[in-house]
């Protein structure tokens, strides 16, 4: 009985555990397993997994930026248009001005920064609500895309396509697997174990009892199991495919931004501003700078997402990025962020995004039409957040809360942490 209690406490509540992340993986796994059964094993086939990552990495990248925007108490509706605008300019720069593709990528990021500075200026320094600024941006940059591209599509060269449809190359001895992918998986496993022990050490230094050893072991076993399974799948796909480059970009961004939001003073300032901007200001937080930064950062990430998308589809078109803002916002809210700001995590948003992605993918595999997929996704978003709100009101166990709440400080994430998206955990979600 005490073991069950331990498990409950560590998985679903209590203040002495760092196992929320475990709960997060658990929910996602449940959905994956459901579709795995429903689709007769199609969901977890190598090619499907790879496609799933390829098709969603740009939305997940947007979700990272969107999380920070929403935590700071804003919203960004312009990300799809910014992505399209950058996409067409970058495509044009390569096709007509023959910029080499690496330079074109830098050029694209610079466009994002300039757009971000433009929007950040209005939001932070003039005080126009972000909803309005980015609604304007949505029209502005969508129009810009079509103006510059004459509403045509522009193809991009081979080299550029790597960031959207490239894979880890084959190197080393022929093992029947993609060696680099396996190596990546191994590194992730080591990092998981290392971090678990770090977390236990931190808790002891805080004079708190770490979770019982067997829980730690169980947690590590499950995480390592998932990682091993995933790396084998990614490594054993069709020859020439493996872990996608866009996935690597995503993982790197998730790690970096998780660290930034959780473990740095600047990251904490974003939460402070979203939680109570006046109190933050009176604590010495530079309000304008924080607001400017989150808007600018979002635009840069949107540009990156746009370029990855263009690279994947090999051309930039007038309809690129339509509706992306909504997918990104949905991911963030399913991931447990608060509409009023101040609450939310990168990892939660990524899980939220993955839940939507798996749902999308699974339904398509089942042959459900896009009309019904949209209906189902809409209902899932509404129900997930409603259930969370309801549970918080009742003061009971909250599913999304359990995914994203707490232990922000129990489990410090080192900068060199492993590439599992579910690592980073959340600040306590306090209903006010």
């Amino acid at each position: 009985m005490s073991r069950i209690k331990d498990l409950q406490k560590n998985l679903f509540g209590g203040t002495t555990s760092n196992a929320r992340q475990f709960g997060m993986i658990f929910t996602l796994v449940a959905i994956v397993v459901l579709f795995q059964i429903l689709t007769d094993g199609l969901t977890l086939r190598s090619d499907n997994l790879i496609a799933l990552f390829n098709q969603n990495s740009y939305i997940l990248i947007l979700a990272i930026g969107m999380l920070m925007v929403i935590v700071a108490g804003h919203i960004d509706l312009s990300v799809g248009s910014i992505a399209a605008f950058t996409g067409i300019l970058v495509a044009k720069s390569m096709a007509e001005w023959s910029l080499p593709w690496p330079v074109a990528i830098l050029f694209g990021l610079a466009i994002g920064a300039i757009i971000g500075a433009w929007q950040g200026f209005w939001v932070a320094y003039i005080g126009v609500p972000a909803f309005i600024v980015t609604l304007a941006g949505m029209l502005l940059f969508r129009g810009g895309n079509q103006f510059i591209g004459n509403a045509n599509t522009i193809a991009v060269p081979e080299g550029f396509r790597v960031i959207g449809s490239g894979f880890l190359p084959e190197v080393g001895p022929d093992t029947g697997y993609n060696n680099l992918t396996l190596l990546l998986g191994l590194a992730a496993c080591v990092a998981v174990v290392w971090r678990e022990f770090q977390a236990r050490k931190t808790r002891r230094e805080m004079d708190a009892d770490p979770a019982p050893m067997w829980i730690s072991v169980l947690r590590m076993a499950v995480m390592v199991g998932v990682i091993v399974f995933a790396s084998l799948r990614f490594a054993s796909g069709r020859v020439g495919t493996s872990f996608p480059v866009s996935g690597i970009i995503l993982v790197a961004l998730v790690l970096a931004y998780s660290f930034y939001t959780r473990n740095t003073a600047a990251g904490r300032h974003i939460y402070a501003v979203g939680g109570n901007s006046r109190a933050a200001e009176l604590s010495g937080v530079k309000l304008k700078r924080v607001n400017f930064f989150v808007m600018m950062n979002m635009a840069v990430l949107a540009s990156l997402a746009g370029m990855i998308f263009v690279a994947r589809s090999a051309a930039s078109g007038p309809q690129d990025g339509n509706g992306w803002e909504l997918d990104a916002i949905a991911a963030v809210f399913i991931g447990g962020a608060a509409v009023s700001g101040g609450i939310g995590t990168i990892s939660g948003s990524i899980v939220g995004g993955l839940v939507m992605a798996v749902l999308n993918n699974g339904l398509q595999l089942l042959g459900v039409g896009t009309d019904r997929v949209q209906i189902i996704k809409g209902l899932v978003l509404l129900l997930a957040v409603a259930l969370d709100v309801y549970n918080k009101k009742q003061g009971k166990f909250s599913i999304i809360g359990s995914l994203t709440r707490s232990f922000r400080r129990d489990t410090p994430t080192p900068p060199t942490a492993p590439p599992d998206a579910e690592r980073e955990t959340a600040r306590t979600a306090v209903p006010s």
Binding site: T15, T202, E205, M206, D207, A208, N263, T264, A265, A266, R268, H269, Y271, A272, G275, N276, R278, A279, A280, E281, L282, S283, G284, V285, K286, G342, I343, G395, R409, D410, P412, R427, T428, V430, S432
Partner: protein, 515 residues
């Protein structure tokens, strides 16, 4: 008094929050037509008890029985208790600033004629209700344009719009000045003579002594005793003894100031109102602070003391016009709060919920929020250092919370104040400005906070205390400035300070005070 019929009986009420037993077997008997005071230290469970009574915590979320007008009641929400005539005015006012007085009074309870709101009737009824609480204003005035005292009256008028039998006031005078408090107390006396029963929570024991018929004392979630003021001959010391469980000989710790040289000086400070630029909020104000000195600022509410403090604290209020700040013999320019903190200033705001704390944070995060650089290297936070710092302040200030992981929104008012104090002590300030540091704080905790202030002064820091309680300023400060309408009107040394002198200086310009 005790021959009056019982109106309300709460029997062995127990209420638990995750990890905290806020109430354990509390009993309360309130008789019809009396004023019943509930007192106790911060976090004793007073507000929680009243929330149980008024259905904020519905039946089923607590144990025990509520017997009201002879029958057991089980309120499912606030509506249900209001329908039974129980109206609570919470510690934090619940008015909508952008709406008029009349709109606020009838919010959710609007008089209707054929489906539409009948504004004529509403205004007429509002005037009538406002007269009953002695509020002379145009019912169309926006609530944000009237002072806190009048806002409090609007709350009470709102209660009367609902046919109240039992009025519950949670620290109604905490934010009021002397005159407004007196008015409110007179009002309660008037209600009593008309048979309306009131329950009042307050930390101002002199008011309790003056007005209450019975006093129930709660300590650590348990009823200690119920005193009958007339029969038991209760005085303040008697109440304090019940609250803290021991004799408290003095309200102020003994202290011999060690005052050094002047190290902080503000000269000819002029600031304008942030919106209406023609209004000058600080008019040529100058003051000095010495090391080890506790300097008080006395003034009526609205005299501009908070505005002075905040404008000095990195221009966080109003539009700076002119004036200089000199610290340690050098002129400093503080253009932002970050500048002010970097120069060793700290400002503990008067409204801890609205601007002092991020209520989403836990104690740990709040404690370090104003100086993250102290627990970080190259911008990367050290969680263990954060925990240790927060924990040491929790111990030093004796903040009542299970751990520093507790959310600040769950703390009682007094303990929130301690967290805010910790937050600013953590910045190692040279000059600590405290704006109403003991508002809503119990006697025991006040004593502790005075002790903390004195210790900080003894470490060579300068402390500025803004307070509306004259006894507090007189008991604590080495020197007191009086402020009236944005002008410093006097400077009084400790030995000359008495309420009459201060009062005279605080109201000493020809113009009449309007608020």
């Amino acid at each position: 008094m005790s021959d009056l019929p019982v109106l309300l009986e709460m029997r062995s009420i127990t209420k638990e929050f995750p990890g905290v037993k806020a109430l354990a077997d509390v009993n309360l008997v309130v008789r019809a037509g009396e004023i019943h005071a509930i007192v106790g230290e911060n976090g004793a469970g007073k507000s929680t008890l009243m929330k149980v009574l008024s259905g904020v915590y519905p039946y089923g979320s607590y144990d025990g029985q509520i017997i009201y007008q002879g029958a057991e009641t089980r309120f499912s929400d606030i509506r249900a208790s209001e329908n039974a005539g129980i109206v609570i005015i919470h510690q934090e006012l619940a008015l909508i600033p952008g709406m008029s007085i009349a709109e606020n009074i009838f919010l959710g309870n609007e008089p209707r004629k054929r489906g539409a709101i009948d504004w004529k009737a509403a205004n007429r009824m509002a005037l009538d209700l406002m007269a009953r609480v002695g509020l002379r204003e145009d019912p169309d005035t926006l609530v944000k344009d009237i002072g806190v005292g009048k806002q409090q009256l609007v709350e009470i008028a709102k209660a009367f719009a609902k046919d109240v039998k039992l009025l519950i006031l949670d620290e109604p005078t905490a934010a009021l000045n002397e005159a407004d408090s007196q008015h409110l107390l007179d009002l309660l006396r008037g209600f009593r003579s008309r048979g309306i029963t009131s329950i009042m929570i307050s930390h101002k024991l002199n008011e309790i002594e003056a007005i209450a018929d019975q006093i129930t004392i709660i300590r650590d979630g348990r009823t200690v005793e119920t005193l009958n003021v007339k029969a038991d001959g209760v005085d303040e010391d008697r109440i304090v003894r019940g609250m803290v469980g021991r004799e408290l000989h003095s309200r102020f710790p003994d202290h011999t100031p060690k005052i050094g040289e002047v190290f902080f000086e503000v000269r000819n400070w002029n600031v304008r109102h942030p919106i209406s630029a023609e209004r000058q909020v600080c008019k040529n104000e100058s003051f000095t602070v010495r090391r080890g000195e506790i300097v008080g600022f006395a003034g009526l509410m609205g005299a501009g003391r908070t505005e002075l403090a905040m404008s000095v604290f990195g221009r966080s209020y109003g539009v700076y016009e002119s004036g200089t700040i000199i610290k340690d013999g050098k002129e400093i320019v503080l253009k932002s709060v970050a500048d002010a903190i970097a120069h060793g200033l700290a400002y503990v705001s008067e409204d801890r919920k609205a601007i002092g704390l991020n209520l989403l944070d836990d104690i740990k995060t709040s404690t370090v929020a104003a100086k993250l650089s102290k627990i970080s290297r190259h911008g990367v936070l050290d969680e263990v250092a954060e925990y240790k710092a927060a924990e040491s302040y929790r111990r030093e200030l004796r903040t009542k919370a299970p751990t520093v992981d507790e959310g600040v929104s769950k703390l009682s008012g007094g303990n929130q104040q301690k967290v805010v104090l910790a937050k600013w002590m953590f910045t190692d300030p040279d000059l600590l400005i405290l704006d109403e540091p003991t508002r809503g704080i119990d006697v025991g905790a006040k004593y502790e906070i005075y002790g903390i202030i004195q210790r900080l002064a003894d470490q060579g820091k300068g402390v500025v205390v803004i307070s509306s309680e004259l006894p507090e300023l007189i008991g604590l400060c080495d020197r007191i400035y009086t402020v009236f309408e944005g002008t410093i009107t006097g400077e009084i040394a400790r030995q000359d300070a008495d309420p009459e002198t201060l009062m005279k200086q605080m109201t000493s310009t020809k113009k009449m005070q309007t608020r």
